[in-house]
C-alpha cells in the first residue's frame, strides 16, 4: 500500500527534522534562547560546503569534517558575544536578535549566491536505493540519515547524562546562579552548549544539501518544521525530539498522499492540534515559558 510507503518515508524525513530540532531544543533548554535563525544556520552550513568544496578539492562527503568544526567554533563565539549580550539585556531580546540575524543571513545569502537553488553533489550515492516491494522504495542515503539522527541524539543523551561537562550543562540549565556557586562559569558552559547545538545544525544542513536542494530562503521552512518537531515531541526531552520529528514527517507524508499541496499544511495542522490538546507535547517535562 502506498500508505505504508508514506509512513516509511515519513519516518525517514522525520529523522531529518529531529536532527534539525535537537540543536534548537538544546539552545532553548539550556539558555532559553529561541533561535529564529536556526533553519538559516543549516542552510549556511550547506552553502559553506558548496563554496569550499571547489576550492579545497575534497570529496563531498568530507565536507562534514570541515564544516562541523567551523560551526562548533562559530557557535561558541556567537554565544559568548552576541547571544550572551542579548540574554543579559532581557527576555525578548534574543528573539529579536535571532530574528534579525535570520533576515540578515537570508538576504546576505541571496546577494552572494542568488536565489537559485544548489545542492551538494555526492554522485551516485544519493541514487542507490532498495525496494521492499513494488510500491516501497527506500534510498540508502535516507537510511544513513536516520542512523545519523539516532546516533547523534543518542550520543547527546549519553553526553548529557553521563559526562562531567554534560552534568554541568544540566546544572547550569536548572539554576544558573547555583551553578555559579559551585564554581561554574555559566557563560563558558553556555558557549559549550551552543557549540554542540551549532554542530548538530551543521550536520543537518549538510545532509539536507546532499539529499535535496537548498536556497537562501529554505531556512524558514526548516525552522518551522524543527520547531514543530520540538513542540510535538515535548520540550526538554531528547528522545521526544526524535519522536516529534517522526510524527511530523509521517503527518506530512500522509498529507502529501491526499494531495501534494497539503504536505506542509498537514504538519501545521498536527502541530496546532497538539497545541490545542496537549500543549506540553508527547514527552514534555519542564514547562519553560
Amino acid at each position: 500500500m502506498s500508505w505504508v510507503n508514506a509512513v516509511i518515508q515519513g519516518i525517514l524525513t522525520g529523522a531529518f527534522y529531529a536532527l534539525f530540532a535537537c540543536g534548537l531544543s538544546l539552545l532553548f533548554g539550556v539558555m532559553g534562547i529561541i533561535n529564529l535563525a536556526h533553519g538559516d544556520l543549516a542552510v549556511i552550513g550547506g552553502y559553506v560546503a558548496v563554496a569550499l568544496i571547489p576550492v579545497t578539492h575534497v570529496p563531498v562527503v568530507w565536507s562534514f569534517v570541515i564544516v562541523v568544526p567551523i560551526f562548533a567554533v562559530g557557535g561558541y563565539a556567537l554565544q559568548r558575544t552576541l547571544l550572551q549580550a542579548s540574554l543579559d539585556r532581557g527576555p525578548f531580546t534574543t528573539l529579536l536578535v535571532t530574528f534579525g540575524l535570520s533576515v540578515i543571513a537570508e538576504n546576505a545569502l541571496l546577494e552572494v549566491f542568488t536565489s537559485n537553488s544548489q545542492s551538494l553533489n555526492i554522485g551516485n550515492l544519493i541514487t542507490y536505493s532498495f525496494s521492499i516491494n513494488s510500491q516501497i522504495t527506500i534510498s540508502y542515503f535516507s537510511v544513513v540519515v536516520l542512523a545519523l539522527a539516532v546516533a547523534v541524539l543518542g550520543a547527546l543523551q549519553l553526553f548529557l547524562s553521563r559526562s562531567r561537562t554534560g552534568r554541568l550543562i544540566r546544572a547550569v540549565a536548572d539554576d544558573r546562579e547555583a551553578a555559579q556557586l559551585i564554581g561554574a562559569n555559566y557563560r563558558h558552559v553556555f558557549g559549550v552548549a551552543a557549540a554542540i547545538a551549532f554542530s548538530t545544525v551543521a550536520l543537518a544542513g549538510l545532509a539536507y544539501a546532499m539529499s535535496s536542494q537548498i536556497a537562501p530562503t529554505t531556512g524558514t521552512g526548516t525552522l518551522l518544521s524543527a520547531f514543530e518537531a520540538v513542540v510535538i515531541g515535548g520540550i526538554g526531552s531528547v528522545w521526544g525530539t526524535l519522536v516529534g520529528g517522526i510524527v511530523l514527517g509521517v503527518a506530512q507524508q500522509i498529507g502529501a498522499q491526499i494531495n501534494p499541496a497539503y504536505q506542509i499544511l498537514a504538519g501545521h495542522l498536527v502541530f496546532l492540534a497538539v497545541l490545542a490538546l496537549r500543549p506540553q507535547g508527547l514527552f514534555g517535562t519542564r514547562a519553560r515559558a
Binding site: F28, G32, I33, I34, L36, L82, A85, S86, L87, D88, R89, G90, P91, F92, T93, T94, L95, L96, V97, F99, G100, L101, V103, I104, N107, A108, L110, E111, D175, R176, E177, T220, L223, L224, F227, E228, V231, I235, A261, Y262, I264, L265, H268, L269, F271, L272, L275, A276, P279, A289
Partner: protein
C-alpha cells in the same frame, strides 16, 4: 517615652502630585490639527509617485503601531502578524469579487480579520514567550497555505482586484492616499485610546508584575485578547490597503514574513513601547529604502543589522533615547510624578513603564 529609632530612618515628608503630561498640552492640539490638515491636502502638493510612497509609509506605520501595541505594551512578541495582513488583503479581494467597492470593503475586511483573530488567540495563547512567537508564524504560514488552495482567490498566483478600473489614475491615487491616511490616523488614535484607558493601565501593571496584577483583580487574559484583536484589526486594515493600492493580491506577497521583519525593525529602531517610536522608525525606514533602493536586498541587511545593534545596546530606540532626556511627549500616555522633596525644588520623575528589553536575564531572587 521617646523613640529608639535612629533619626536617619525617619521618613521624609513628601508632597506628591500626579499629572498626565509634563507640559501644558494646550498647544499640542492645534499643531496636530495643522499637521493633519497638511497631510489631507498632500495630493495637491505631491506627484503620484510620491503619493504612492506616502501610501506605503502609512501602511507600514499602521503595522508598526500595531506590533508595538502587542509587543511593547502587552508583552506579546509576534512574528506572525502577516497572517492578518494577508487575510485583510484576501478579504478585500473576496468582497471585490462579489461586487463590493474595494475601498468600502477596507473596514469590513479589517473587522473580519479581527473576528478571526479571536479563535486564533485561544490557540496561540497556550504558549508564552518565544514559543508564542513561532506559533504565530506557523499560524501565518497555515493561513497562506489554506488561502493558496482556494482557486477563486487565484490559488498560489494571486488575482487582480476588480471594481476600481473605472477611476482615472489621479482619482485612484488620491482615494487610495486618503484611505491610507485615514487608516493610519485611526490606528494611532486607537492605540492612544487603548493606552490611556483602563486597559492601558492593566497592560502596564502586567508588564511589571503579572502575578501582582492578577491578584489585584486585573483581567489579564481578557486584556491580552483585546489587544491581540485590535492588532489584528489594524494589520487587517493595512493588508486591505495593500490590496487596494496594488490592485493585485498574491498570497506569497501579502503573507510574507518580510512584513513582520519590517514592522519589527521599524518599531525597535524607532523606539519600542512608545507611540512616537513607530512614527520615527517608519520615516527612517523610507529614507533608508530610498537611498539603498538600487542595491536590492541590501537595505534589509542594513536594517536587520541596525535592529540587532539597537536591540542589544540601545533597546529604547531613537525616541526612547530622546525621551529620557526630554520631558516632551507627543502622546501623553504615562504619568508624571511631581514631588516637593527635601531638595526644595520641583522634581519630575517619569513613572517607569518598563519596556521590552530592559533588565537582566539572570535567575535568583534578592532577599534580605
Amino acid at each position: 517615652m521617646s523613640s529608639t529609632r535612629p533619626a536617619a530612618l525617619a521618613a521624609p515628608s513628601v508632597e506628591a502630585r500626579v499629572t498626565r503630561s509634563a507640559q501644558p498640552s494646550a498647544w499640542l492640539l492645534p499643531v496636530a490639527a495643522g499637521a493633519i490638515v497638511l497631510l489631507v491636502f498632500m495630493p495637491s502638493l505631491l506627484s503620484q509617485g510620491d503619493l504612492s510612497t506616502m501610501v506605503n509609509v502609512f501602511i507600514l506605520l499602521t503595522m508598526a503601531v500595531m506590533w508595538n501595541l502587542l509587543a511593547g505594551y502587552a508583552g506579546m512578541v509576534s512574528i506572525g502578524q502577516q497572517a492578518f495582513i494577508g487575510l485583510g488583503a484576501e478579504g478585500v479581494l473576496a468582497m471585490a469579487q462579489h461586487g463590493l467597492n474595494p475601498v468600502a470593503s477596507i473596514p469590513l475586511a479589517a473587522i473580519a480579520t479581527a473576528a478571526i483573530a479571536l479563535p486564533v488567540s485561544l490557540l496561540v495563547f497556550r504558549l508564552r514567550g518565544g514559543y508564542f512567537a513561532i506559533a504565530t508564524w506557523v499560524v501565518a504560514d497555515t493561513a497562506e497555505l489554506v488561502v493558496s488552495s482556494i482557486s477563486s482567490l487565484g490559488s498560489g498566483t494571486g488575482s487582480p482586484v476588480p471594481g476600481l478600473s473605472g477611476l482615472s489614475a489621479k482619482s485612484f491615487g488620491d482615494i487610495t492616499y486618503w484611505s491610507a491616511l485615514a487608516v493610519a490616523l485611526i490606528a494611532l488614535a486607537m492605540a492612544y485610546l487603548v493606552l490611556r484607558s483602563r486597559l492601558g493601565l492593566v497592560l502596564a501593571a502586567v508588564r511589571d508584575d503579572e502575578v501582582g496584577a492578577r491578584s489585584a483583580g486585573a483581567r489579564v487574559m481578557r486584556a491580552r485578547r483585546i489587544v491581540f484583536a485590535v492588532a489584528a484589526l489594524g494589520c487587517g486594515a493595512a493588508g486591505a490597503l495593500l490590496a487596494v493600492s496594488q490592485l493585485n493580491v498574491q498570497p506569497s506577497s501579502v503573507f510574507s514574513v518580510q512584513w513582520s521583519a519590517e514592522m519589527i525593525f521599524v518599531t525597535l529602531i524607532g523606539g519600542i513601547g512608545t507611540l512616537e517610536g513607530p512614527i520615527i522608525g517608519t520615516i527612517l525606514f523610507f529614507v533608508l529604502e530610498q537611498s539603498l533602493a538600487q542595491h536590492g536586498a541590501l537595505y534589509l541587511i542594513v536594517l536587520g543589522a541596525v535592529a540587532v545593534v539597537v536591540a542589544i545596546w540601545a533597546p529604547k530606540g531613537i525616541w526612547g533615547m530622546i525621551a529620557s532626556r526630554a520631558r516632551f511627549r507627543l502622546f501623553p500616555v504615562g504619568y508624571w510624578l511631581w514631588t516637593h522633596g527635601a531638595t526644595r525644588g520641583r522634581k519630575a520623575r517619569r513613572l517607569p513603564a518598563r519596556l521590552v528589553g530592559r533588565g537582566r536575564g539572570g535567575q535568583g531572587q534578592p532577599s534580605a
